[in-house]
Subunit: 419 residues, 2 copies
């Protein structure tokens, strides 16, 4: 997915030394124990850049980075479609620079102005930064003359049993998903796009997440969620282009051609009731998911990636993987073959002031070709029957149409919609 190569640091870029001194070998990338190459002028850091332009937006099929900053915005009052177009153009130029590991402007030469770039990522590597933008259903109301361009697939998500949604954590006209290896790089991206939006859009909500933790474990093992279980075992892999084409990318079926090559993003903030979960027996926890906690193996099997034995029964004639087990209800095999691309991150937002319990859980992101056949029926089934429901609560929800990738410099998100 990613093109890995040596890049100058953001600092070098800021100083105009772009491309002169990249160091790309794995050996250089691992030379952190020397600790001596950081401060001299023109220093370089080995880093990885994900291509910003392409048929699809990066940050969807891209191998999941460790850290997330996800922001929802509303267009400011009295803005018009020209403001939206200008914002997308401005954001695209800034995103192209930031994802390449560069500051959004050369500020050193203008001391008597506010810096255009806020600066906290100067000196840091690109860190696989991806910036993915989507359009919420409300963008297609009467304000921008886009009502006739709303894709049929961009439905308002129906209420689900057990939802306990907060308006301040839900919805939005626009979303920005910034993923990177480094939380400061991801936060910097969202913060600077927000600054560029001043006067045209306002921040509605923001969630930070942490994920694979692969920089520490040095493996690509399936990450664990905050319930301690492996999460994402059977997710769609970035190299599985046929499955992506079938289940994730919008194709010729769309009623809105500007969405071809795009996808639909559903975001759910799923709070885990960790105090209750932690009191449950290990055997019960395993029955809730249908997997062994330590190995991640489906119950009745020995390895994480074994086929889920949905029909197997034990000596008492009982299903080994219970009728209400999460793994059964979420399996494509029991959902008419539907698959969605999950991209979840753990979140921790401190202590709930009302209960004293932890406000932590899963910030669930998923991409699909059509939410009407993807997230919605799967979640309706889960919400009705999943044994996991006793331990979770959906507190935020949003859906966005994610337009296709940008073709090159000058292109912008939704150009086929807004031009």
């Amino acid at each position: 997915m990613d093109s890995s190569r040596g890049r100058p640091s953001r600092r070098s870029a800021l100083l105009g030394a772009v491309g002169l001194a990249g160091v790309g070998s794995a050996a250089a990338a691992c030379a952190d124990s020397s600790g001596s190459s950081g401060s001299a002028g023109g220093s370089t850091v080995a880093s990885q850049v994900v291509a910003f332009h392409g048929a699809h937006q990066a940050g969807i099929a891209t191998d999941a980075q460790d850290r997330l900053a996800f922001a929802s915005f509303d267009m400011a009052p009295a803005t018009k479609v020209a403001d939206l177009r200008a914002l997308m153009t401005t954001w695209a130029a800034a995103a192209a620079r930031m994802t390449a590991g560069r500051a959004i402007a050369d500020d050193e030469s203008r001391p008597q102005s506010p810096p255009e770039d806020t600066g906290e990522a100067v000196g840091l590597a690109a860190g696989h930064l991806t910036i993915t933008v989507g359009f919420g259903p409300t963008l297609f109301d009467q304000r921008f003359g886009l009502a006739g361009r709303r894709p049929a697939a961009l439905v308002d998500l129906p209420a689900m049993p057990g939802d306990n949604l907060e308006a301040s954590r839900s919805g939005g006209d626009l979303c920005v998903q910034a993923c990177a290896d480094d939380p400061q790089v991801a936060f910097h991206a969202v913060r600077n796009l927000r600054r560029l939006a001043q006067g045209s859009a306002v921040l509605r909500w923001l969630e930070l997440g942490f994920g694979r933790t692969s920089t520490t474990s040095q493996t690509q093992a399936t990450p664990r969620n905050l319930m301690g279980f492996k999460d994402g075992t059977n997710n769609i892999k970035s190299q599985d282009t046929a499955t992506l084409a079938q289940h994730v990318w919008v194709g010729s079926e769309t009623d809105q051609t500007w969405m071809r090559g795009g996808s639909y993003l559903v975001a759910r903030r799923i709070r885990m009731l960790l105090e209750s979960w932690d009191r449950d027996y290990l055997a019960d926890q395993q029955n809730v998911f249908g997997r062994a906690k330590d190995t991640g193996a489906p119950l009745g099997t020995r390895t994480e990636f074994a086929t889920v034995p949905l029909t197997a029964k034990d000596a008492h004639g009982e299903l080994v993987i219970g009728a209400d087990a999460h793994i059964r209800l979420a399996a494509p095999a029991t959902n008419g073959g539907v698959r969605i691309l999950r991209r979840g991150y753990s979140y921790t937002d401190g202590v709930d002031p009302e209960t004293g319990e932890l406000d932590a859980g899963l910030f669930f992101l998923c991409f699909q070709r059509d939410p009407r056949t993807g997230f919605i029926p799967v979640q309706r089934r889960l919400a009705a029957h999943d044994a996991l429901n006793e331990y979770i609560e959906h507190t935020g929800s949003a859906v966005f149409a994610v337009p296709p990738g940008l073709r090159g410099d000058g292109d912008y998100w939704g150009s086929a919609l807004l031009a």
Copy 2:
């Protein structure tokens, strides 16, 4: 500071394979591109362990890890000093295991019980985890019979100009500072200590932070705060044992011998008014700090680590580093030689619901031999005069007596106080 060596993963530890299959070479630590060693039984990940036992607690002079989870606890109603002693003993045993990269218990053999370890760090490396515990002033009230043992240095922090403290982000009987390379490892530590405290202590507040970001930058360059400036240039280094002995570790001067070898921790949640800051001119931003934003060099110098030219004047006879510049007011040279060991982390807590502005800034931690000669006079001076005050607001505050290190298995925090 740290002993770096190969360690089995937490999973191996859980399965009882401790110490059999460590892989310690730097080459192994860097072999993440192979991506194939993660899931087989008995797999190992190269990882780094910070020694848990020692004369001083780890997590003070230890080189700052990238991620922080900081929790404040209050003892539960009606608990007695025996409960406090039991809690410290339980916590010490769990911390010794977790900092070594192990789960706190072998749960696999007891499926009909709630797991003792919550499991989300299984398979992850130790990640330089340190767990540092402190005692707040309120622990020395009438509840535990410790009023006569309160060190004189453990003063209540005085109110400062510009404080806007929230009770729900301030104070506490106990604190746990967990630092690690990985946020999931740090969070896991706090969460599991909290579980072990059920019935004896309740979580009061929790803050997550991100810091050096050195795993990405592959350098030990000075990190930047969210204002975009390098932060920590002249901090005390872990190898500077003479300075640590003079300014950080409690010595024979203490009125409470149980604190010898300990330190005092001040925690301040410093919100940055980033929207205002971002509108300021670059030249003004640089004058506020007294440093160049890009290089970190003190104004009037060319390199980050140059001596701060406190008396230099420009062609107009004006001080190059202004009278109200942060770097001047915080400098040891203008504070009677006082030095404090800073250990700050950036935080981001979403959007302020009242203003729509970002709730983000610096979670400032500092360690010192005596707050009465360390943080308090320095902060009083800063609060009165610092040009930075226009852009920051202190929203949380706490102080803790941090007892000395644990001598070995069976020892616990404050054993000389509580035994």
